[in-house]
């Protein structure tokens, strides 16, 4: 339970106990007090992040709406990014989405593909890859939808979403139309997306969340309505006051085309949500992928797989839709991982300023308990938070939490300097006892740097055995936080290759056994905020020098891989076992 300034109404001016929760004007925020910070643990943190984007050649800003003010919410939410090995050379390339400007397209406004030069630098190959595209892009998910061995890209937009088929020769083709994914009605606001083999036929299907139904013609402007003010300052309106989006599920027909099965699958029951990031994973460990959708200012959604091509939505009942006192929150980004090392997939969901991000502990049956305060992540409420990851940054064997932040109202700081537009990254180190400790400068300049960030992706771009972070900054070049990890902690990286399962093995769940610990991870095509992580699962091992793996493939196959040595990448092919790596060099 929480007490807030607004709780003073409990006293009620007429002494009648009335409870009001401070829901901010256009967006749900609980306006709760941060949990007090415990005394520092004093333990060293070996990961240190340095932003090397400029030196790496990531020069172009991510154009996204107005710089000093935002007329429409369209300009405010920003977009995601992806680590993708598009050329199968074993090195993570970078794909970054882009928006545009209300007054007209900026010459710099395009999605960008950067090829990894394997020396810490990247080359912009957008044009030659055929990925130049201008518009209001939002989310990206990556997966091999046609099982040809090359990862494809799906991007959501305000307007037409796009499916790019990887041609295997360094180029992509927009196959949206021929795949049957063209929208026919009014423009939709595609938000999150996920490749997911929901019917376990070995072909990646596609789930797309939609944010709001929006049109520039009818959208209110700052100050016009009650939902267009924040703390008394006129700001872009919404999402409250704007009609909710409708989510879609497309079944992969196995021949390069998709069929809209939204209604048949029971996805259309969710008509009252502002959908954002999508994470598809097997939360109840029944062998079938479920779908979690973080939702803004409305209850988040958890679609449980009925094993017959349909889903049932159970977010509230399973404890992952609302705050622990039953209130809506502004769900933006999602981290997925096993923070308490019990072998189950937990969730971390980011929210708006003045609210904590939520940590949800999974009991293994897909029921969640919010443990934000128990885990001490409730100490942070200062920032509007977006992309997040539950990843082991210091390879100590305990997944940490990192999320990026940034306000949606650049105009507010002029009036209320306590709400700046650019804010730092937030790093929670896992103390290994079910609690976290917030670090700032201990994480390096890359953590304390101020930006208005949105999507971020976690991956090992330099193949040095630790997790780096790619971050989208609004109207600035991206950040590429190189992890300069000290110490001698061990690690293992796993690349999965489906055979009966989809080739990308998206939806696989891996339980790692190392030392006296177990840890679950899932291979997903989207998490964080509208973004896609390095598909190679990364386990920090601490002092453990070997690891055993239980792999639950999307096809339903369970394989045990014993005694894998630490500090290497292993490629594991379904039904075959460990096979030679592709292009990995250290």
């Amino acid at each position: 339970m929480t007490i807030s300034r607004r709780s003073f109404v409990l006293l009620s001016l007429c002494a009648s106990a009335r409870q009001l929760i401070g829901q901010e004007q256009g967006i749900a925020s609980r306006t709760i007090a941060a949990q007090p910070k415990p005394a520092p643990s004093g333990r060293p943190f070996n990961a240190h992040f340095t932003d090397i984007a400029k030196d790496a050649g990531l020069h172009f800003p991510t154009i996204y709406g107005g710089i000093d003010s935002k007329k429409y919410i369209m300009e405010a939410n920003g977009c995601g990014c992806a680590f993708i090995d598009y050329d199968n050379d074993g090195w993570m390339d970078i794909f970054i989405l882009s928006g545009t400007r209300l007054e007209g397209d900026s010459p710099e406004a395009t999605n960008r593909l950067y090829k990894n030069n394997r020396d810490g630098t990247f080359t912009d190959v957008t044009q030659q890859a055929g990925l130049k595209a201008v518009g209001w892009a939002n989310g990206v998910c990556v997966g091999d939808y046609n099982n040809d061995g090359f990862d494809d890209i799906y991007c959501t937009y305000f307007g037409q979403n796009r499916l790019y088929r990887n041609n295997g020769n360094g180029t992509f083709t927009d196959v949206t139309k021929e795949a049957g994914l063209l929208d026919t009605g009014p423009a939709r606001w595609g938000a999150g997306c996920a490749f997911v083999d929901y019917n376990r036929d070995g072909h990646l299907d596609l789930f797309v969340s939609n944010y709001i139904r929006f049109s520039f013609e009818h959208a209110p402007v700052p100050g016009e309505k009650s939902t267009c003010n924040w703390k008394g300052v006129p700001v872009n309106c919404g999402p409250r006051g704007l009609p909710t989006g409708r989510h879609s599920l497309y079944r992969n027909n196995g021949n390069g085309t998709f069929t809209d099965v939204t209604r048949q699958a029971g996805i259309d029951v969710a008509t009252d949500s502002y959908g954002m990031t999508v994470v598809a994973a097997d939360f109840d460990e029944d062998g079938w992928p479920d779908i979690f959708v973080a939702c803004d200012s409305t209850p988040s959604l958890l679609f449980m797989n009925n094993h017959d091509g349909t889903f049932r939505e159970e977010g509230v009942t399973r404890g992952v839709a609302l705050s622990d006192d039953g209130m809506e929150q502004a769900g933006m980004g999602v981290g997925i991982g096993d923070y308490n090392l019990d072998g189950h997939l937990d969730l971390f969901k980011t929210h708006f300023v003045s609210d904590t991000s939520g940590l949800y502990r999974n009991d293994g049956k897909g029921n969640f308990d919010e443990v934000t305060r128990a885990a001490k992540t409730g100490v942070e409420t200062r920032f509007t938070s977006w992309g997040a990851g539950m990843v082991d940054l210091d390879n100590d064997g305990n997944p940490d939490v990192l999320f990026v932040t940034g306000s949606v109202y650049p105009e507010v700081e002029k009036t209320l300097p306590q709400y700046p537009y650019k804010t730092p990254r937030v790093l929670f180190r896992n103390l290994g006892n079910g609690t976290f400790e917030e670090l700032d400068s201990q994480g390096g300049d890359g953590i304390t740097a101020m930006h208005s960030s949105r999507g971020c992706a976690f991956g090992d771009f330099d193949n040095d055995g630790d997790i780096d972070v790619l971050i989208v900054n609004m109207n600035e070049p991206p950040s590429l936080l190189r992890n300069d990890l000290q110490g001698k902690q061990n690690w293992l990286k796993i690349r999965l290759e489906g055979v009966k399962s989809n080739r990308s093995a998206i939806g696989a769940r891996v339980i790692a056994h190392y030392g006296n610990k177990i840890q679950a991870q899932a291979l997903v095509s989207q998490s964080s905020y509208y973004s896609c992580n390095d598909p190679r699962l990364h386990f920090g091992l601490g002092a453990a020098t070997e690891i055993a793996l239980d792999i639950y493939w999307p096809s339903g196959l369970h394989e045990h891989v014993p005694q894998v040595a630490a500090n290497q990448l292993v490629t594991i092919r379904e039904s075959t076992g460990i096979v030679p790596n592709r292009g990995w060099k250290r």
């Binding site: 339970m1 607004r6 003073f8 106990a17 910070k37 009252d272 009942t317 006192d325 039953g326």
Partner: protein
């Protein structure tokens, strides 16, 4: 509920009854005549003198003790009057006039002692209108609406001519959530006394309480069209606000303040509207105006303190809460406000907030809100179930609901403690208590869903989810309505 006129009626009915009725045989007629004459002439001192003289020789005559009671009552000495009636009853337990006299005094004092006396009267005279009416009112006052309604129904054919009893009955029906019937009763009341502003206000209040502000305004319209008094204006302002017509609410409240600028409640009402519309500074300014006229009104300091908290001006808020407490030390809410302020100011150090709450609890151990606050602050620390802090939080929440069963926030926090310690059935029970009072309480609905899921009692969940969705939409809508208007103090007219 006004009972003065009833009490007066009873007093003089008693007097007349015994001045006209046959007397106890043992009393010599001439003595009785002297006493009754004195009572008739309202010469209570003389009556007392005669009675006391008569009692010297007939100390066991209940009639004389009853006369003495009447005389004392005439002298406004209720204590002696009650003692005299009780003496008469001890001598003659079924002596109706003494029972009625004693019941009346106890009733006027709001004492529960009136209840057995009135029940005794009803045993002797089952159709007694006044006793049924008084029992209806007492039961309603004690919050025992089921009994009140029972008494009303028992004597309905007689009681429906008694406006005060009808009002009590209607109020109880409202409390029992029999809203349609409650409105019917108040409509009956208005039909009986169309010119009576109190009846009209009663109906409007019930309509407002049942979420029909437009009906309430229609009911009040005849009063508003003439020269509305302050009570009418205050109620109309509440109805306008509930009808989402904040400008009219504010204007009406201002009219009321102009009529009675010293009435503290009007400023508090204004502050509440300001609070709802996040116009905290405007609320502060209006309270300031009230304090110029009523500088010792504790509720105004409390209200302004709450507004200052919203403005994060904790120093001023603290000063206001202290002043409120100094002015009205018995008002427990002041201590609670100070404790909440401590919590607000010490977010990074709940131990300090707890220290403040505990210090207040030493002085006010019966203040439920403080126990709730202690439970809530401890809950924020997320103590491990089984730890001393967890147990203390749990015990505090239990204490809060015991002291004030209507404090829903305390039930909610108790439900959370139970959920956290896997006492899911107890959690569900607490949630149901909250939902009885407020069917759209989102926390209670949500916690009940979770508790039921954890106890594998799935059947009720779909309906609860629908209710939760509806409550959520309603809350969002209301939030939107609240944000529609900002209150501002208009600049003064330029001097001509």
């Amino acid at each position: 509920m006004k009972t003065d006129s009833v009490a007066g009626r009873i007093q003089w009915a008693l007097l007349l009854l015994f001045l006209q009725a046959g007397m106890f045989g043992q009393t010599p007629n001439e003595r009785v005549q002297a006493i009754t004459s004195a009572l008739q002439e309202r010469d209570f001192a003389k009556a007392l003198q005669s009675v006391q003289s008569a009692l010297q020789s007939s100390p066991n005559n209940p009639q004389l003790w009853m006369f003495q009671g009447l005389a004392y009552a005439g002298e406004n000495d209720s204590k002696s009057a009650l003692a005299s009636y009780k003496h008469a009853i001890r001598i003659a337990p079924d002596y109706l006039p003494a029972l009625e006299g004693a019941a009346q005094i106890e009733y006027e004092a709001g004492s529960a002692e009136a209840i057995p006396l009135l029940q005794h009267v009803l045993k002797l005279r089952p159709d007694d209108v006044t006793s049924n009416a008084m029992l209806t009112v007492l039961a309603e006052k004690n919050g025992d609406c089921a009994t009140a309604v029972e008494h009303y129904v028992a004597g309905e054919h007689l009681l429906d001519t008694q406006p005060f009893a009808l009002q009590g009955y209607g109020a109880c029906l409202l409390k029992l959530n029999q809203t349609d019937k409650a409105i019917e009763v108040f409509q009956q009341l208005v039909a009986k006394q169309p010119e009576d502003p109190q009846s009209r206000r009663g109906l409007a209040a019930v309509q407002l309480a049942t979420g029909k502000p437009q009906d309430a305004l229609a009911t009040l319209q005849p009063l508003l069209d003439s020269a509305p008094d302050v009570s009418t204006l205050r109620l109309a302002a509440a109805a306008y606000e509930a009808n989402k017509d904040t400008p009219s609410a504010v204007k009406t409240l201002r009219d009321a303040i102009v009529k009675d600028p010293r009435q503290v409640a009007l400023y508090v009402d204004f502050a509440e509207i300001a609070m709802d519309h996040q116009s905290f500074q405007t609320g502060v300014e209006m309270i300031d105006s009230g304090l110029k006229l009523q500088p010792n009104a504790a509720p105004l300091y409390l209200a302004r303190g709450v507004l200052y908290v919203q403005l994060a001006d904790y120093e001023k808020a603290g000063a206001d809460f202290e002043r409120a407490e100094a002015l009205d030390p018995k008002q427990g809410m002041n201590g609670a406000a100070q404790s909440m302020l401590a919590e607000e100011q010490n977010q990074s150090d709940p131990s300090r907030a707890l220290a403040t709450v505990r210090a207040k609890l030493v002085k006010q151990p019966g203040e439920a809100f403080l126990w709730y606050l202690q439970a809530a602050i401890l809950s924020q620390k997320s103590p491990e179930p089984g730890s001393a802090e967890f147990q203390q939080g749990l015990d505090s929440a239990k204490k809060a609901v015991t002291l004030q069963p209507s404090l829903t926030a305390a039930h909610n926090v108790l439900a959370k403690y139970y959920l956290d310690s896997s006492q899911n059935e107890l959690a569900a029970k607490e949630c149901r208590i909250v939902l009885e009072k407020d069917p759209s309480d989102q926390s209670a609905l949500y916690h009940l869903v979770i508790a039921l899921r954890k106890t594998n009692s799935q059947a009720e969940i779909p309906d609860l989810l629908k209710r939760l969705a509806k409550a959520r939409q309603q809350a969002t809508r209301q939030e939107g309505e609240r944000n529609r208007y900002k209150l501002v103090i208009a600049p003064p007219e330029p001097a001509r």
